[in-house]
Symmetry: C2
Subunit: 402 residues, 2 copies
């Protein structure tokens, strides 16, 4: 189950960024599960990784290699997360990097590894090594769709986004794919994102732009610091468009990058495990962003709110209770207003006089729902996206691995 139609957008190729996908038999025979992304040494790379203390072996290696060298390859396997695998996991991830480096004629530290799937099982290295030649062979600038499928785990569909813009008279492309699934806290399933652009940028600049985009997209479907063992979002800039990002066009590029990241992040939510609703939680009037975010997450993650959303039940009392336990200092509940879509449901500590069950029900019957909360104590606002809690969520997560 997922929210909305499974449309995959037109994916504009990014000059100098090639993707190759194969079925290495890691999960099931014939299932695409191994993806290589290739680019030249001149490209710059930025990435953000999970903050989980138990970060997976590939995350440790990728983080180290990113600092060390000039990456040329990203290699991703699904079916096994290579997490909680200790020293052996590190050795296994290194073997994959070494094998690809040997095949491609580069140094092992020029390869960044990524894994997603079951935690705590040894990585089936041999299968991956056997699959590398075919994946490398398949590399093409038109490989986005296959790669989008190749990184899926419990995802029901690939997620892609692509934008073109003109920078200083030159056409620039930003294209990306992501995988997610998991729902109550989407971050708890591994989230992987890969975005490439043919604009040129320094490493520092690229990192700053990625961080900024993350805080309006992937980091707004996940709690700060509350990540899975394998989460990673990577951004590669090949520079082959001839357009360089600078002071005169940075804002424009950032807006397009934000849009791509937001579309991918929302795609992760729409395909959340068992999701039947796409929910936007918008909090306004906070003293600062931190408290607006705290309220947004408390509402978005409340199992009682989420089951009410699944049932299309305008049980606004559950929203109100969630706002009340978000831990805000001296919250005056009499100044709080709450809307379902355009319908004012609560104000002055109770149900709004104008509210009718019928009006609330009409909003809840929609597949896309916005919950808007005004705290009445400042100017800060934050938005997070989430989904509902359905029977299928329990089914998928109880059956996964069995």
């Amino acid at each position: 189950m997922a929210v909305g139609k499974p449309t995959f957008p037109e994916m504009h190729p990014v000059a100098g960024f090639r993707l190759g996908t194969t079925a290495a038999g890691i999960k099931k025979p014939g299932r695409k599960d191994l993806v290589i992304m290739a680019f030249d040494e001149a490209a710059t790379v930025a990435a953000t990784f999970t903050r989980n203390a138990f970060c997976a072996a590939p995350v440790q290696i990728a983080r180290d290699n990113l600092v060390k060298g000039s990456p040329r390859f990203l290699v991703t396997n699904t079916g096994n997360a290579n997490a909680g695998t200790g020293e052996r996991g590190l050795a296994d991830a290194r073997r994959v990097c070494e094998a690809l480096a040997e095949l491609a004629g580069c140094r092992p530290e020029q390869v960044l590894p990524y894994s997603t799937g079951v935690i705590g099982e040894p990585l089936p290295v041999e299968k991956i090594l056997e699959g590398l030649p075919a994946a490398l062979q398949a590399c093409t600038e038109d490989g986005w769709r296959d790669a989008g499928e190749g990184i899926m785990t419990t995802d029901t569909r690939p997620k892609g986004a692509s934008r073109r813009l003109s920078l200083g008279g030159k056409r620039v492309t930003i294209t990306g794919i992501a995988k997610g699934a998991g729902m109550i806290k989407p971050n708890m399933a591994t989230m992987l994102g890969y975005i490439a652009t043919d604009a040129g940028a320094s490493k520092l600049e690229l990192k700053q732009m990625l961080t900024s985009a993350m805080n309006r997209s992937f980091n707004r479907i996940t709690i700060d610091g509350d990540t899975s063992t394998n989460d990673a979002v990577s951004l590669v800039a090949t520079g082959l468009s001839g357009a360089a990002i600078g002071d005169d066009n940075r804002a424009e590029f950032q807006a397009a990058l934000d849009a791509v990241c937001r579309e991918l992040a929302q795609g992760v939510i729409r395909d959340g495990e068992g999701a039947t609703k796409f929910v936007t939680v918008q909090v306004e009037g906070g003293r600062d962003g931190r408290e607006a975010l705290a309220v947004a997450y408390t509402v978005a993650e409340s199992p009682l709110v989420k089951t009410a959303l699944f049932a299309s039940d305008p049980n606004w009392g559950r929203i109100l209770a969630a706002v009340g336990r978000a831990g805000l200092h001296e919250l005056d509940v009499n100044r709080v207003s709450i809307w379902l879509g355009e319908v004012l449901i609560a104000e002055r500590g109770g149900r709004a006089d104008t509210y009718t069950e019928q009006a609330g029900q009409a909003v809840m019957d929609e597949e896309e729902i916005t919950i808007r909360i005004h705290l009445g104590r400042g100017d800060a606002s934050e938005t997070v996206w989430t989904s509902d809690l359905s029977h299928d969520y329990v089914r998928i997560n109880a059956e996964y691995r069995t």
Copy 2:
């Protein structure tokens, strides 16, 4: 569904504490839904209430009345929480207090009101007022079982606990009932607890003992500050046993009070919505209690851990991932060890060499499961209790109110 057999213990009456229950037709005709507890003015009363900013009208009134006066009655209705009801809710709760005071011949501020049920609907005051005479009439020291049933909402069975001890040669009784349900965070459903003793204690002493007991029971199935709109646990000491609590016997009384509270709190978990497992999460080796508790809650509330528990799947990687995202400063994962029951499943950052799936499966097949985590960085320990996340949890919470 609930864990273990629905046994209700022998409830020793508490001298001077009477309970009367009736069916006032608030929820359904014939369903016990109104409970009065009565005691003399000489009794001392302590209570802890929700920290939710949107605390319900009865909580505000009960808190005020507890400070003002010498309580003589606790009155509880189910079927309606009188929360999120603004000024009208306060007026409604006051009317209930006034009506009971008039019937019983006391001052309105000697009545503490409690409500649980749907949030945001006006309290059906008339039905409650009509039910008061019968409930008052029914008051008896043997009324515990009926009262235990009268306070239930989505609970599938009443929860009671009773202990007797000898203090300075005098027989002292501690008896209590509780209601709960709700599961992912048990606190998100209203939790009510009522405990009475015929020991004598000052108000301050009683409050300190209740707080201490809470931190080993009800507050270990709930996050600090993360409470529903109506939570309340109350302790009444009638003093009629003739035994007074003092320095020479305080520890003994506290231990018995702790045991009663723990049994009630665990009863709430065993009857959690859709619960099929009773899970103890025991964290040792923390630098301080705060971090031990953070790890315990992160594991106990992880939807992925909870669905694995429901599936009896020894997916220890999910436990490890939860420990890793609990936010501990500089956690050295190589010093962390994790056990399922007596089976060591993870150490040194990965699966234990001695671990077998078969051994893990044998523990997971049990109805009662202990997850033990040693952090290897200090001496602090904490224990919390939780249950699993089942299909029935979603069904109950999606259907409630419809």
